[in-house]
Amino acid sequence: MGSTSTIVAEPEVDLQNALARPWNIIVWNDPINLMTYVTRVFMMVFGYSKEKSERLMMEVHSDGKSLVASGAREAMEQAVTQLHEYGLWATLEQAS
């Protein structure tokens, strides 16, 4: 006797891109943006907690860059536009 399980479609989950290679947003270090500002931007654009935003900001600061988000291309392009509105230096690349 095998086990059974069911799956129910969740409307908030976009299945269209489930099998595609995701796109990553990279934020690069720059000498102008204040550290507290970069933290604030991550909280505003991605809705991350202060702790997570600070961790990512420190990664940008000490490693020169950080992968801050990953997902479907269109959503990531929208987020990059928002980061550019805030003046962060952000780029997109497809996950390898």
């Binding site: 507290t36 500002y37 604030r40 997109l92």
Partner: protein, 153 residues
């Protein structure tokens, strides 16, 4: 300059001289932000490439840059309108980010012109440097932005 938290927002008090300088800078920026000369490092910093590849970047730029320019224009127009009213400037909580972005655009432009390298507030500049005023302005903008960021809601 004095920043204080009030109910639902921030009060910003500027000295008359500070207000005049910020007004002038904002007006200059509103003209500058219309430039599409991407070979200018300050323009390139305000409107960065979104991809490493030139072709993808150009394609992305084609549809995103006009809206991005419009957004920067709106933020600076909003700051301009706040500065045009005499007395203490009241910034509503939901409008604080417009100020943060607008001041940041000024810092990015000025910082790129001054080729700042690391010190967040511009560092020590010899007084006889002809650009010492611009450095102190850059430092002051950082101080203003940092003060706005310290207010937690």
């Amino acid at each position: 300059m004095k920043v204080s938290k009030i109910r639902g927002g921030i009060n910003l008090e500027l000295l008359e001289g500070e207000r005049d300088v910020l007004l002038q800078l904002i007006d200059d920026f509103r003209e500058f932000v219309m430039s599409e000369d991407i070979s200018d490092p300050a323009v390139a910093r305000l409107f960065p490439d979104a991809y490493e590849g030139n072709e993808e970047s150009a394609e992305f730029r084609k549809y995103s840059e006009p809206a991005l320019r419009e957004k920067k224009n709106r933020d600076s127009a909003y700051i301009r309108s706040c500065l045009g009213v005499a007395g203490v400037i009241s910034i509503k909580e939901i409008e604080v980010d417009s100020w943060l972005r607008g001041i940041n655009d000024l810092r990015l432009t000025l910082g790129t012109r001054l080729e700042v390298t690391g010190d967040e507030y511009g560092g020590e500049i010899p007084e006889d440097d002809p650009r010492s005023f611009l450095y102190s302005l850059y430092g002051w903008l950082g101080w203003l932005q940092g003060s706005l960021l310290e207010v937690e809601f």
